[in-house]
Amino acid sequence: MNTINNSQHDHQEPRIGVYICRCGGNISDVVDVDRVAEVSRHIPGVVVAKVHTFCCSDPGQNTISQDIQAEKLDRVVVASCSPFLHELTFRGAVQRGGLNPYLYEHANIREQGSWAHKHDPAGATAKSIRMIAAAVGKLQYSTPLDQIRLPNHRKALVIGGGIAGMKVAADLAGRGIPVLLVESSGRLGGRLNQWNRVFPTDTPAGQLVTKLLAQLDANPLVEILLNCKVTAVKGFVGSFQVTIEGPLGPSGAMTSTQTTIGAIVMATGFRPYVPDDGEFLYRKDPGVITMPEFIDLMRGQQTGAGELVYKGRTIRSIAFLHCVGSRQIDGVHTPRADGKINTYCSRVCCTTTLQQALAAKERFPSLQVYDLHQDIRTYGRGHEDYYVRAGKAGVVFFRYHGDEIPRVELANGKHPGEPSLHITFKDYLTWGEELTLDVDMLVLAVGLMAGDIPDLINMFKLPVGEDRFIQEIHPKLRPVEISVNGVLLAGTVQGPMNIEETLNAAGAAAVKASAMFLKDVVELNPYVAQVDADLCQGSGSCVTQCEYDGAIAMVETQVNGKSVRQARVNPGLCVGCGACVAVCPTRAINLNGWRLDQYDAMVDGLTADIPAVAAATS
C-alpha cells in the first residue's frame, strides 16, 4: 500500500483539476462535497479541486475550460453522475479548454456514491474520495488519444418496407442519400395493407402507402428489393458489407448480392398477438375473431344489406374485448413459450377498438355493440373523439379488472343453429357486479408483439428488451439509437406505436443517418486493443478468446528480416471489451485508454492510505 501525503509538486508533474458536482443535491445531500474537494487538493498531481452545483451546466463547464487555461491544467477529473450521461459533455468542455479530450476521467460518485449509500454519508464521502484518487491515479498514465477515423460509404440500408421503412427511405433519398430498401414480402406498406380506414383521420390506409410509394418511385436514389432478406453482415459503421438474398419463395432462383453500406435502419415492424387455441374460445368457435380479422370482415361490408353476416351467422350483437395479449399479469395469465408474459400496453388497440366499434355501429345501426375494457386509452390527438362518439352512438361500455379475466362459454342462442357466446365478468362501472352478456360475435382487440427476427438480432447483436422489442440506448434522450454503432431503429420494431408515431420515429432515425453522412468519415472512440509488436509472440490466444468476428487476427509480418505471426486489431470491429488483454501470456495487448498500468494506478488510488480519508470516515 502506498501512502499519499502532501507532497510538493514540481513543474514536470501533471497538473490535474478535480471538479466535484453537487448535482443539485442528488450528490451533496449525502456526500460532503466540500470535504471531498478539500481532501482531493492533497492528492499528488491535483492543483485545483472545486465544487459546482451542476458541473454539466454552462457555468460548470465554463469553469473547467477556463481553469485549463488559467491554471495550466493538463488533465481533468469530474466527479459527478454516471459517465453514461455526461462523459461526452465533459470531454467537450475539456476540448474547448484546449486539451486532448481523452486526458479526462469521470468518477461516478452519484450512482456509485450518494445513491448507493444514502444512509451512510461518511462512507459515501470516503468512497467518493477514493474514486477520485483512483481517477487521478489513472490520469497520471493517460496519453492523448485520437478518434479512429474510418471511411463512410454514402449509402443507407433500410430493412423492412412498412411505413416506417418507406418513410426513412423517402426522407434520406429526398435529401440526396442513396437508399437500399429491403422488404421480405412481395409488397411495400407492411401492416397498413391489412387495415381499412385508419385513425385518427379515417383516411384509407392504402392512400398513405400510395403517397409514400409515389415519393419512392419518383426518386432515382431509391433501390427497392422485394422478397429479399439480409442474410449476412460484416464490417462496422461507415462500411458494413451486407449480403442480401432473394427473391425468396418458390417464384425464382435465389441470388445473393453484396453491397457496402454506411448506416442501417431497422424497420421490421411488429406482429399482432395471436391468441392461443381456446383463449376466449378463439379457434374453437367461429364467432370469436381478432381485430385484424374483424377489420378484414368490415372491408367486405362497405355496401350491401343492412345486416352483418359472418360464416353463415347473422351477427346482431358484438362485444369488443380490450387488452388481449397486453397488460398481462404474473400468475394470472399463461406465459408464452419463452416463459414471458406481455406486461406492456400495446398503445394502439384502444383507439382501434373504438374506431371499429363506432364504424360497425354506424354501418349497421341495429347492431348491439359492447365494449369491455380496463382503461380507455384514447390519449392521442383526435383519439378521444372516437370514445365520445362511440358513446353517443350507443356503444355500451363495461370495465373489468386485469386480474379478473372475463370468461367466455358457448350457449344456445335465441336462433336455432346459431349458438351465442356467453361472457361472464365483473363490471366496475356498476360497482363490481357480476354481469353476463350473450353476443353473436366477440372481437379480441389483440396487442402488438415484437417481430420475429432472431436472424437479424443475432447478425447485428441487437439489444432486446424485456418486452422482446429492440431496446433503444436511452428512452428519453436517444430514442432511435441502439448500442450498435451505425444501426438505427424506426417504428414498431422498437415497441407499439401508431402510424403518426411510427412516421415520427422514422423521421428521427432518418435525421440521425442524414447527419452521419455529413462527413465522408466516421469517427469512433479510440478505446480499442493495441498490440505491442515488441512483445507479441504470436500465441494466438487473443484470437481464440475474441467474440467479435474479425476484430483481431493473426497476420504474417516481418520482424528484423524474419517472418513472424503476430496479432493485429481491426479498430472498426474491436469493441474494446478487453478479453484479449486478459489472456495474452506476454502482456503484449493493451486497451487504449484502459491500459494495465492505468488499472494498477487506479487500484493504488483506491487503496491508498490517504490520511484524510480516515478522518472523513470517523
Binding site: 451542476f54 457555468p59 450521461l85 467537450g92 373523439d385 366496475y428 430514442p479 408515431e501 420515429a505 423521421g507
Partner: protein, 464 residues
C-alpha cells in the same frame, strides 16, 4: 431606433427553446445548417428544465436537459436569441421572413460575464418565477442555476433603480435605459416549437382552487420534488406543514367539453404517478391517492411503471371528484363519485394537499402571428398524414407540444422528424434563385449577408 432595424440571415429559425426546439435545432445543425433559436424566456430549456425527475426512467430532469441545452449553446451552427419573442412569420417567395423583438433586460448581454455580483448587491426580492413563487429572487439576477445563457436580467417591475447593481458590476453591463429591439430574420425554413401552457387552476370553479393555497398545480409539485427544490423538502404552501395526505385529481382540466378541452392531455396520468412515487419516497408516512377516470399509461415501459406504483401502495381510486370544499386547518374535503364501490358510491375524503391535473393548451396562438392553421384543439394543424410535422404552409414545420400534448420522448422523436422534413424541404429548394434559400452545402456553410446585418459571431457574443 426603428431606423436601426437589423436584418439577420439564417437557414433555420426555431420558435421556442424548449426541449423540442433544442432537439430540432441540434438535428438541423448536425446536418450542417445554420440555426437560430428564438426563446422568449431568459434561458432555453422550456418546461422540461423545471421538472423534478422524468417518467418512466426517473432520471433527474436537470441532469438530462442541461447537456442538451449546453450542446445547443456550444454548437458552432446554433445561435441563441433569448429574451426574444417571435411576433410575425411571413412567407416571402420560398423563404420565411420573421420579425422578432428582444425585450429590454437592462443588462448588456455582450458585457455581462455572469459573475452575479449585481445579484448579490441587489436588495429587492420578489417571488421567483422559476420556482413558481415558492422561493425568492433578486430584482436583478441570473434566472436559475443552470440557465443558459448565464446572463443577468433585471425585472423592471421590482427594480427601484437604486444603482447598487450598476455599482457592483465589474464590466459596466447594467443599462437602465436599454430599449427593446426589433430584428428581421430571413430564414430558409421555420420550425415552430412554441410548446404548451396549462389551463387555469380555476377552470373548474367547483374545485375552489382560488380559495385554497393548498390546491396546487402539478408544476408546483414538480418544483417541490426537484432535487434542488426551493425548500429542500415537500412542504405545503399555506403553512409549511409536511403534508400527510395528498390527493391527485386527474383530468381536472381535460376531457371535458364544457371547459373547451375535450381532448386528453396525455401526460398527466403519468406525471401524477411519477409525483406520487417521488412523494412516497420523500414522505414515507403520507397517504397518497390518485383519483382518475382511466389511467393512460400507454408508452414504452409506462404500464410497468404504473403497476410498480400500485405495488408501492399508492391508492388508485376510480371516480370523479365532483367538488372540493375548504375544511378546517387549511385542509380540503373532496366529494368523490366512486364507480368501483357499491356500498358507498359518494365518498367524502379529507386531504391536506391537492394537485389538479390541469389541461394542456398551446402556449402560442400561431394564427395570430402567421398564416398557420390550427386544429380544432388550437394546436398547430398537421394536415399531411404521411408527414406529421408538416403544417399547412410549405417551409414551416412543427415540433413537440406546439402540435398537441406529448411527453418528452414523443417530443424528441417528433423534433427529429421535423428537422428531417425541414432538411428535405431545403434540399428541394436547392437551385432556387431565391436569396432567402441558402445553398445546400452541407458541411461547408454559406450564410447570405446583407448590408447592416449583424455578424453571426457578434450575435452569439451579444447573447442574442
Amino acid at each position: 431606433m426603428i431606423a436601426m432595424e437589423k436584418q439577420i440571415h439564417t437557414d433555420v429559425l426555431v420558435v421556442g427553446g424548449g426541449i423540442a426546439g433544442i432537439q430540432s435545432a441540434l438535428d438541423m445543425a448536425d446536418q450542417g445548417f445554420k440555426v437560430i433559436i428564438v426563446e422568449r424566456q431568459s434561458s432555453i430549456g422550456g418546461q422540461m428544465i423545471a421538472l423534478s425527475k422524468v417518467f418512466p426512467t426517473l432520471d433527474c430532469a436537470s441532469c438530462i436537459t442541461t447537456p442538451k441545452m449546453s450542446a445547443a449553446a456550444h454548437h458552432p451552427n446554433i445561435q441563441l436569441m433569448v429574451n426574444t419573442e417571435v411576433n410575425q412569420i411571413e412567407t416571402v417567395g420560398a423563404g420565411q421572413r420573421i420579425t422578432v423583438t428582444r425585450k429590454a433586460t437592462y443588462v448588456d448581454p455582450e458585457k455581462c460575464i455572469g459573475c452575479r455580483l449585481c445579484e448579490y448587491a441587489c436588495e429587492i426580492e420578489y417571488h421567483d418565477p422559476f420556482e413558481l413563487g415558492l422561493g425568492a429572487i433578486r430584482a436583478i439576477a441570473i434566472p436559475f442555476t443552470n440557465a443558459i445563457p448565464q446572463k443577468a436580467v433585471l425585472n423592471p417591475d421590482y427594480c427601484t433603480t437604486c444603482g447598487l447593481c450598476a455599482r457592483a458590476c465589474p464590466t459596466d453591463a447594467i443599462d437602465y435605459a436599454q430599449e427593446p429591439q426589433t430584428f428581421t430574420v430571413h430564414a430558409g425554413t421555420v420550425i415552430v416549437a412554441s410548446g404548451f401552457a396549462l389551463n387555469s387552476l380555476n377552470v373548474k370553479p367547483q374545485y375552489n382552487a382560488a380559495q385554497s393555497k393548498n390546491v396546487i398545480s402539478p408544476l408546483t409539485m414538480e418544483r417541490l420534488l426537484a432535487p434542488h427544490a426551493p425548500y429542500g423538502r415537500v412542504l405545503r404552501p399555506s403553512d409549511g406543514k409536511i403534508p400527510s395526505s395528498v390527493a391527485f385529481v386527474q383530468c381536472a382540466g381535460s376531457r371535458d367539453e364544457t371547459i373547451g378541452v375535450p381532448y386528453c392531455s396525455r401526460v398527466c396520468c403519468m406525471y401524477a404517478i411519477k409525483q406520487a412515487m417521488l412523494l412516497s419516497g420523500a414522505l414515507p408516512m403520507a397517504d397518497i391517492t390518485i383519483y382518475y377516470m382511466d389511467i393512460r399509461a400507454f408508452g414504452k415501459g409506462y404500464e410497468q411503471f404504473y403497476q410498480n406504483a400500485r405495488a408501492m401502495g399508492i391508492n388508485f381510486v376510480r371516480g370523479k371528484v365532483a367538488r372540493i370544499e375548504s375544511a378546517p386547518n387549511d385542509d380540503m374535503l373532496l366529494h368523490v363519485e366512486l364507480t368501483e364501490e357499491a356500498a358507498d358510491p359518494c365518498r367524502q375524503q379529507r386531504h391536506d394537499l391537492v394537485v389538479l391535473a390541469q389541461g394542456m393548451l398551446p402556449q402560442w396562438n400561431v394564427s395570430e402571428h402567421s398564416s398557420l392553421q390550427r386544429g380544432s384543439d388550437g394546436f398547430v394543424a398537421s394536415p399531411d398524414v404521411t408527414n406529421p410535422s408538416a403544417t399547412n404552409l410549405p417551409g414551416i414545420f412543427s415540433a413537440g407540444t406546439a402540435s398537441g400534448p406529448k411527453d418528452i420522448v414523443d417530443t424528441i422523436t417528433e423534433s427529429g422528424a421535423s428537422a428531417m422534413a425541414a432538411r428535405r424541404y431545403l434540399h428541394q429548394q436547392k437551385g432556387s434563385k431565391n436569396p432567402d434559400i441558402p445553398t445546400d452545402t452541407a458541411a461547408v456553410h454559406l450564410v447570405q449577408r446583407g448590408e447592416g446585418e449583424i455578424h453571426d459571431d457578434q450575435a452569439v457574443q451579444a447573447g442574442l
